[in-house]
């Protein structure tokens, strides 16, 4: 048959079939074995990884009074790919926003410049931090808006309006935080300042994950492997602060209407009992959707209520500095406990005395009467002890010794080993600074005489001042000031190389200040207080009022520094605040309530309000 000739064509057809089929098998091999992207594609299709946010750690005060806790908040999130036939009008109605708000927000989310991690496949935040009443309407009709979801998380709630600066606030993560820490996803919250920032890693806990199965239309079809692969969230650790909330509240009350700050420290532990800065704000206004509007208001107030004056503002400490200068002078041999100097009162040169007292004057009296000439002589003899020497060398060496010892009190540098958010270093000028300013040999004790009375280039923060006061209270050491009660900082003990007997003298002097001197009007019934006032001229109106002090004299439990800007005398403006606060802390109550009320109503700056 002729078909036999064509028989081999059957073989050709069979070969074509076999070859093509093997090409297909190769293709399957590459799809199923070689390439990885389809497996990933399947996972991103079918698995919806739903984050479960852990409750954030609570914050307590030193007496275990609850300060900060959580309340539920709701985010509206969407997955763009899943949005289908959205009835925008009814959606906007339910959320009580306008159509243009909607469009704008959508545009914002999809803008990859502003939102670099945008993807149409992953949940994106549409609106955040809604309260229960805001979502009540939309919750019922959520089924209509495919692609949109409600995500629950928590917001901060505050029991007291006090302590905003200390506690800090939480806000949405910024792109730079996102880059640094891959724990966060866009839209997550993180501590932005204060303790919320410092203890973010403890407070936040660990996010959990629920793996859900999602079908092609975005409907959730249950848990993957019945939740076997889910990760439970870990609640954040609670934080116990060193703050005494009652003391803090009192401090804020007393500073109302004034610009200034007060810092109280427990001397033998370094625990910060109160850290008041005014003007201030109620921390709850920086929560939720009002946060950005309020933040904007705060940042635009010329008195800078967000600025924590206790740790960030720097002032010349004025006469309060004399207590520390006495110690430095004694230790470095500038004076002895029995050294007397002459004082010509207002006629003194080169520094006038602002108080009238007898002459010559002893150290104890000089502290009591805040005699400027005495401390000028002390300073001069300290830095000129070995003369000026060749090229000012001896003088500079003596000055450096003076500076080092002054800085040992905690001045002129930040506390590095602490949990306090945002400190200023202040300044105790270096000899290099003066050499640069006046030339190597161009400066002498006289040139820098203002330093002797805590003025001139010297600047300190109220925190540093309180800490240095604690040094005097402790008679020779301080524990780095801190805010976490659970973290004993006793190993962070800084011993000062100053003879203990010198502290007894300064202690005596500061007792006299409160007994007979400038602060005598504010005695606390039953408590012996040591203190020192300061009244510091400045170029912005009235003098700044200062007070430092500690109590009780034996075994002090509180050391305090108070600054009231542009108020007047330290004795009239700063001393009472310290006195009331010490009483509150030591006696747990106030006997002079009328005085407290009267004082807190005094206003030095009508713009200094609490937000």
């Amino acid at each position: 048959m002729s078909n036999d000739k064509l028989q081999n064509r059957g073989t050709v057809i069979a070969i074509i079939m076999v070859v093509l089929i093997f090409i297909y098998i190769l293709r399957l091999f590459s799809l199923q074995i070689l390439e990885d992207k389809y497996k990933k594609g399947a996972a991103s299709n079918a698995f919806l990884n739903k984050t479960i946010f852990p409750p954030r750690g609570l914050i307590y005060d030193r007496n275990d009074t609850l300060l900060v806790y959580n309340k539920p908040a709701y985010d509206i999130v969407f997955i763009n790919r899943e949005i289908q036939n959205l009835d925008t009008n009814s959606f906007c109605n339910d959320l009580n926003i306008s159509k243009s708000d909607f469009d704008e927000r959508m545009k914002e989310v999809k803008n990859r410049d502003k939102n670099p991690s945008y993807s149409s496949l992953t949940p994106q935040i549409f609106m955040t931090q809604l309260e229960i009443q805001d979502v009540a309407a939309i919750q019922q009709s959520m089924y209509k808006y495919s692609g949109f979801y409600i995500q629950t998380r928590t917001l901060r709630e505050y029991r007291y309006t006090a302590g905003g600066h200390v506690l800090g606030s939480i806000g949405e993560v910024t792109p730079s935080i996102l880059e640094k820490d891959d724990y966060y996803n866009p839209g997550d919250y993180t501590g932005r300042d204060g303790l919320e920032y410092t203890y973010e890693k403890d407070l936040r806990g660990e996010k959990g994950m629920e793996i859900l199965l999602r079908d092609a239309r975005g409907r959730i079809k249950g848990k993957y492997e019945n939740g076997a692969k889910d990760v439970a969230p870990k609640a954040g650790t609670d934080l116990r602060t060193t703050i005494d909330i009652k003391l803090q509240i009192l401090g804020e009350k007393l500073l109302a209407g004034k610009v200034g700050s007060a810092v109280a420290i427990e001397p033998n532990t370094g625990e910060i009992l109160a850290m008041v800065s005014n003007p201030t704000f109620d921390p709850s206004i920086l929560v939720g959707r009002q946060r950005s509007a309020n933040y904007y208001k705060l940042i635009n107030d010329p008195l800078k209520p967000l600025y924590n004056r206790s740790t960030q503002a720097t002032y010349s400490p004025g006469s309060t500095f004399k207590s520390f200068q006495a110690l430095v002078g004694l230790e470095l041999g500038g004076i002895t406990p029995s050294t007397k100097f002459l004082c010509s009162g207002r006629g003194s040169s080169p520094i006038r005395c602002s108080h009238s007292h007898g002459s010559s004057i002893t150290l104890l009296n000089a502290i009591e009467q805040s005699c400027n000439p005495y401390f000028w002589h002390t300073f001069r003899q300290t830095v000129e002890k070995t003369g000026y020497g060749h090229k000012n060398e001896n003088f500079k060496k003596s000055y450096d010794a003076w500076r080092d010892l002054t800085m040992d009190f905690g001045f002129g540098h930040r506390f590095d080993d602490t949990d306090i958010y945002q400190q200023s270093a202040g300044n105790i000028p270096s000899s290099e600074f003066f050499s640069k300013m006046y030339g190597e040999t161009g400066w002498r004790a006289l040139t820098i005489r203002s330093l002797s009375i805590g003025q001139g280039e010297i600047t300190v923060t109220p925190l540093q001042l309180a800490n240095a006061t604690a040094v005097v209270a402790n008679k020779g050491y301080y524990i780095t000031p801190h805010l976490n009660k659970s973290d004993s900082m006793l190993t962070h003990r800084h011993e000062l190389p100053i003879d203990k007997e010198y502290f007894d003298i300064v202690d005596e002097g500061m007792w006299r200040v409160n007994e007979f001197g400038t602060a005598r009007r504010y005695k606390i019934p039953g408590i012996v207080v040591c203190g020192k006032t300061g009244t510091v001229e400045n170029n912005r109106g009235k003098d700044h009022a200062f007070f430092i002090g500690y109590a009780p004299r034996e075994n002090p439990k509180i050391a305090i520094a108070v600054v009231v800007e542009n108020a007047g005398f330290g004795s009239t403006w700063a001393a009472p605040i310290a006195s009331f606060m010490m009483e509150q802390y030591l006696l747990k109550s106030i006997s002079r309530e009328a005085e407290v009320e009267e004082y807190s109503k005094r206003v030095t700056n009508p713009n200094a309000k609490k937000y």
Binding site: S2, N3, L6, Q7, R9, G10, V12, I13, A14, I16, M17, V18, L20, I21, I23, Y24, I25, R27, L28, F29, L31, Q32, I33, E35, K37, Y38, K39, G41, A42, A43, N45, A46, F47, R81, L213, R214, D215, A216, R217, K221, G222
Partner: protein, 481 residues
């Protein structure tokens, strides 16, 4: 009684076994594909697995009936059957209700039926009958004309039903024509046409230089030049002539490239001009050397130029927009993962996520969660790929290959042309379905909605494939009786 006993012994049980395996495996996978989290029984007649169970049982019944009938009936009634089916196809155009844009389904109460499926069997029988005539043999083009008409009538009727995919199946018969004596060049020209089409469409949007032609046309012309050269140099041994041509082409390419520095040239026309010139050159050579092969080369080149030149036009004006999209997606010219590319992308994801051994029966997440549309009908293979993995899906393909080779073996052992032609028709149609369906699912073919034989859900296709296969088995059994 005697006949029944003999059928038992003469039946090709291998094919029957493969058939049973495929049908049952298909039914299980249809259950897998339509299986939801609120699971229902595989016998629940409200879902597709339950319905398929009915189709499977009736298909077995149909197979039994076919085996019981006299084998001579198929030859005898081939034309009648063909004519009836043609009438049915015509009627369908007018009677059919619109199902997803296609007018190919006749609905009888709860059951709907697609006559186009029957047309394959009817056409195969008609071709076998025509070619089995005592004095018929394919000797030249003229003999192909009546065969072409037999194929073309159902083809065009099905196109009119907007079932282009089912209509394309009729192209499979060319494989059988080749076996029966059609010049093999036709198949090669078909392959060439596909290559030129892919090149000129696939690269039609790649511009070589601003306003100076597309890469597609230049590549297509390059392919034609290579064919000319290889034919002359290796097959006809006119090495001198071929070398001259090569030199000329290089010269033209160089000159046009240099010229382009001063005045912009459209490379498309340079390429077309070059190919045309060389085609004419071969025509001259063919006259001088009295070598007819080059005349063929001339005509092929000329047709290719026309084909490439009009490919864009054909693509944009003859194909429907959705068909254009499917081709563009296949050629990677468009992603469109939410639109035309969605099916294929999702089916690749489903198959790709299966890995070596698959996720296990009823454990495929992509199929369970309905990511792949049509996953129990045209895209059933991706359920197999996801749940049974590379091992399962390639074993399935190998089983199909076994079936195909077995059918070819059966066809070859027939001692009459009718049976053999019919056998090759069955093999060709099955092969075409297999290649197009699996090719589409794994992204090697454009999306053409035709079912995977025996696996896809649907009564019409299962019946029609069963009919086709068991007529062959009946014919084969008769041979031994």
């Amino acid at each position: 009684m005697r006949r029944n006993i003999s059928i038992k012994y003469s039946l090709d049980w291998t094919v029957v076994g493969i058939y049973l395996f495929l049908v049952v495996f298909g039914w299980l996978n249809i259950y897998g594909a339509s299986y939801d989290f609120d699971q229902s029984s595989i016998f629940d007649f409200n879902n597709r697995a339950g319905k398929q169970f009915v189709w499977v049982l009736t298909a077995f019944g149909l197979a039994g009936v076919i085996l019981l009938l006299d084998s001579r009936l198929y030859n005898y009634f081939a034309y009648v059957f063909y004519a009836l089916v043609i009438l049915l196809l015509i009627a369908t155009i007018f009677l059919a209700t619109d199902v997803k844009g296609s007018r190919s389904w006749l609905v009888f109460g709860p059951v709907s039926f697609q006559p186009a499926e029957l047309a394959k069997t009817a056409t195969a029988l008609a071709l076998a009958r025509f070619m089995g005539a005592y004095n018929f043999r394919i000797k030249g083009w003229k003999d192909l004309i009546p065969l072409g008409i037999i194929v073309f009538i159902p083809f065009i009727l099905i196109v009119l039903q907007k079932e282009t995919g089912s209509a394309l199946v009729f192209l499979a018969f060319t494989l059988m024509f080749y076996r029966e004596g059609m010049n093999g060049i036709v198949l090669l020209l078909g392959v060439l046409a596909v290559i030129l089409f892919v090149l000129s469409i696939g690269f039609s949007e790649v511009v070589i230089q601003e306003n100076s032609g597309t890469l597609g046309m230049v590549l297509a012309m390059f392919v034609i030049l290579i064919i000319q050269y290889v034919y002359a140099f290796f097959f006809s041994n006119h090495k001198r002539e071929a070398s001259w041509l090569l030199l000329g082409v290089i010269a033209i390419a160089g000159i046009s490239y240099l010229l382009n520095i001063w005045l912009p040239i459209d490379y498309d026309y340079v390429a077309i001009g070059t190919v045309f010139a060389s085609a004419v050159y071969w025509l001259v050579v063919s006259r001088l050397k009295h070598f007819k092969g080059y005349a063929a080369i001339f005509w092929i080149s000329l047709c290719s130029i026309l084909f490439c030149y009009s490919a864009d036009y054909l693509f944009e004006n003859v194909l429907e927009p959705h068909q254009q999209k499917r081709i563009k997606v296949l050629l990677n010219m468009e992603q469109d993962l939410r639109g035309a590319g969605y099916n294929v992308n999702q089916s690749k994801i489903a198959i790709g996520s299966g890995g070596l051994f698959g996720k296990g029966y009823l454990n495929g997440t992509q199929t369970k969660l309905k990511y792949v549309p049509e996953q129990d009908t045209d895209f059933i293979f991706c359920t197999v790929g996801e749940e049974w993995g590379f091992v399962g899906s390639s074993v399935l393909i190998l089983i199909y290959m076994w079936l195909l080779l077995r059918i070819l073996q059966i066809a070859n052992r027939q001692n009459n042309t009718f049976n053999r032609v019919y056998g090759y028709c069955v093999a060709s149609v099955f092969f075409f379905h297999l290649m197009i369906n699996i090719g589409m699912v794994i992204g090697l073919m454009p999306v053409i909605g035709i079912p995977l034989p025996f696996l896809s859900y649907g009564g019409s296709s299962l019946w029609s494939f069963t009919l086709m296969l068991f007529i062959l088995l009946r014919l084969d059994a008769a041979r031994k009786m």
